[in-house]
């Protein structure tokens, strides 16, 4: 893949010309910057203990609170900005675990083949069929809900698709001439894997990571919404859980419901678009669309009526 498409520089060049990918990248970078700058962007300190009166609960947007206040009279904008930190942290760490496990299993299975592959892929198939979210709910419910546990659970359950993808890619790379040649001259398994196979699997792994991040963020928000979030941190999912279970609906407090959801959609959409763009940049396929609108004749300059039957030899 690398040789055929001009290396990482070529990928970057194609990505820069891919509007979908660039929109996604810009959106993701924006989210990361906002998360990093949260302390400077936030109008309030999220940890400050303030005196809250009943009047502050679900206060509508105002010059003091641009996005209003939540069920505990806290500033929604501040929570929203800090929530980006939690969601992105979970997304990045959990997907790192998932991709590391999936990548390792996929590489091992694809490269070693035989019985190892059979056992690993059978196990992957089983894990693929068991529904992730209910299993995650069960595990988190039985353990103490904490950020670490949520990251671990999402990471440990989210590797199956990566494993299958990496295995398929490894299998195809394994048959390439230079790998067969390296093997013929007696290179060891670890060497071939590190030097020849991994570099060709890596681009695929990067695309996959971006998509796994979006799934991890969705899963975290869902677990938090279901009441399994870390009570000590306020992620976007947790904000929605509080708003939903503590009367934002009946209070008509849309400002407590819209921003966190918007944040999740923003990041997930960013990853999805970036993933799509990266995939197109890595794997530029020019498919012929046989049912495309017919424009064959739109540029036809007709010949003068009744042309000479044969004009060969005449310039």
């Amino acid at each position: 893949m690398e040789q055929a498409t001009g290396g990482y520089r070529g990928v970057w060049r194609r990505l820069r010309r891919n509007p979908i990918g660039m929109i996604g990248l810009t959106m993701l970078v924006t989210a990361i910057v906002v998360a990093l700058l949260a302390p400077w962007l936030s109008p309030y300190d999220p940890n400050a203990v303030s005196r809250v009166t009943i009047m502050d609960v679900y206060q509508p947007p105002s010059p003091e609170h641009w996005l209003g206040a939540d069920d505990a009279g806290r500033d929604v904008l501040t929570n929203f900005l800090y929530g980006a930190r939690v969601s992105l942290t979970v997304g990045f760490f959990a997907s790192f675990i998932a991709v590391a496990i999936g990548g390792l299993l996929g590489l091992t299975a694809g490269f070693l083949g035989g019985r190892t592959e059979g056992v690993l892929m059978r196990f992957t198939d089983i894990m693929l069929v068991i529904p992730d979210l209910p299993l995650a709910v069960v595990i988190v419910a039985l353990t103490k809900p904490s950020l670490t546990n949520i990251i671990l659970v999402i990471g440990l359950l989210g590797w199956t698709s990566t494993a299958r993808l990496v295995r398929a890619q490894t299998l195809s790379v394994k048959q390439r001439k230079f790998v067969l040649r390296a093997r013929a001259i007696g290179a060891g398994n670890r060497y071939i894997m590190r030097r020849h196979i991994f570099p060709l699997v890596l681009p695929l792994l990067v695309v996959n990571t971006v998509l796994v991040i979006s799934l991890a963020i969705l899963n975290e928000s869902t677990l938090s919404f279901l009441g399994l979030g870390d009570p000590a941190t306020l992620s976007w999912g947790q904000m929605l859980n509080y708003a939903f279970t503590r009367g934002a609906m009946s209070a008509g407090a849309w400002w407590a419901l819209i921003p966190p959801g918007f944040g999740i959609v923003w990041v997930v959409l960013a990853c999805t678009l970036l993933g799509q763009g990266l995939e197109q940049a890595l794997n530029p396929r020019l498919l012929t669309h046989h049912l495309a609108a017919d424009r064959t004749l739109t540029a036809l300059r007709r010949l003068p009526p009744d042309p000479a039957p044969s004009s060969e030899g005449i310039t």
Binding site: L297, A299, R301
Partner: protein, 334 residues
């Protein structure tokens, strides 16, 4: 044009056909320029050239099946005197397969994998002849399969249950389904082993005699052309290199490219002959040389070749070539 048939109007007459591939913002690529040839009833014309010479583009342009980026920019395609480029899409569709059918290269991909071979043949008959009766269709399909040497009872099998040679035979049966006037065979024997290749060519030759078929055979293999074709059109980089009857092409080729092609192809009558590959590579469409498209690889190249593209010169009434070397004073070229 051959003397014997001069008084008859040709079945297919292609004149000055030119095709561009557009890819904005890049300038259009000149994929075909000024292709002119005729095909008589019952005749087989070979269209020869390396891959990328535009021979497949030419076939698709005749059927008006160019990919989305393809534009026929000039020329005329007449079938029995009717201008195909003037027809609306519906009329053109009704004419496809009914009058001009195609045998694609690689029948594995050209046949739909999830429909039976019989269904795919019957579909053409149903569409163009309005035959709806299942039993009639089954009988017709059986006859067609029988014609190409496949047992009729295999009509209900899927393409993957056929061998490579059988798939190509099935493709031929499909092409013959509506008794077309012209069959275009695009590399019909690539990807087949030599024995099967010979069988398929024999089958095409037999069918041609039996059914008075006109065949346009597209190939890169001069050996195949020698077996099947009356006349040959040699193409290079989207233009005509040489156009003559098969004997002339093999025995007195005029264009340096034809000569090089013949040297690259084993001649059974001269066993000790050395095979010579043509140095260099065919031109890329987006990077064509300014003058003659063959100039960068031509052993006889001279200054003029780099400045202007040679027109097609008539050497005899039935032999023409696109090369300055054959320019004769009467030809009218400066």
């Amino acid at each position: 044009m051959s003397h014997e048939v001069k008084n008859r109007s040709p079945l297919l007459a292609v004149n000055h056909l030119s095709v561009d591939y557009v890819d904005p913002p890049h300038p259009p690529a000149a994929a075909l320029r000024e292709i002119t040839f005729t095909l008589q009833r019952g005749e087989a014309l070979g269209i020869v050239g390396e891959s990328g010479c535009g021979k497949s583009t030419l076939m698709l342009a005749l059927m008006r099946l160019l990919p989305a980026a393809g534009r026929i920019v000039a020329g005329s395609v007449r079938l029995d005197g009717v201008e195909l480029l003037d027809l609306d899409e519906q009329t053109m569709a009704a004419l496809r397969w009914k009058r001009i059918a195609m045998i694609f290269q690689g029948a594995m991909n050209a046949l739909n994998p999830v429909r039976t071979v019989g269904e795919q043949i019957a579909e053409a008959i149903r569409l163009h002849e309005g035959v709806g009766d299942r039993r009639v269709l089954a009988r017709r399909v059986g006859e067609l399969l029988d014609l190409v040497g496949i047992a009729a009872n295999r009509r209900d099998q899927y393409p993957f249950q056929y061998s490579g040679g059988m798939r190509q035979r099935a493709m031929i049966a499909m092409a013959l389904a509506c008794s077309p006037d012209i069959v275009i065979a695009d590399e019909p024997t690539t990807a087949l082993d030599v024995m099967i290749q010979a069988q398929i060519l024999q089958l095409l030759a037999d069918l041609r005699r039996q059914l008075q078929l006109s065949i346009l055979l597209v190939t890169h293999d001069l050996g195949i052309v020698a077996e099947l074709c009356d006349r040959v059109l040699v193409m290079y980089g989207g233009v005509m290199a040489e156009y003559a009857d098969a004997d002339t092409i093999y025995n007195s080729p005029a264009h340096p490219y034809t000569q090089a092609l013949l040297r690259a192809f084993p001649d059974p009558t001269r066993p000790a002959q050395k095979l010579a590959a043509i140095p260099g590579a065919p031109p890329r469409l987006n990077d064509l040389p300014p003058g003659c498209r063959f100039a960068p690889r031509c052993p006889y190249v001279f200054a003029r070749c780099h400045m202007a593209a040679p027109p097609v010169y008539a050497i005899t009434p039935t032999h023409s070539a696109g090369c300055f070397l054959v320019a004769n004073p009467q030809g009218g070229a400066a």
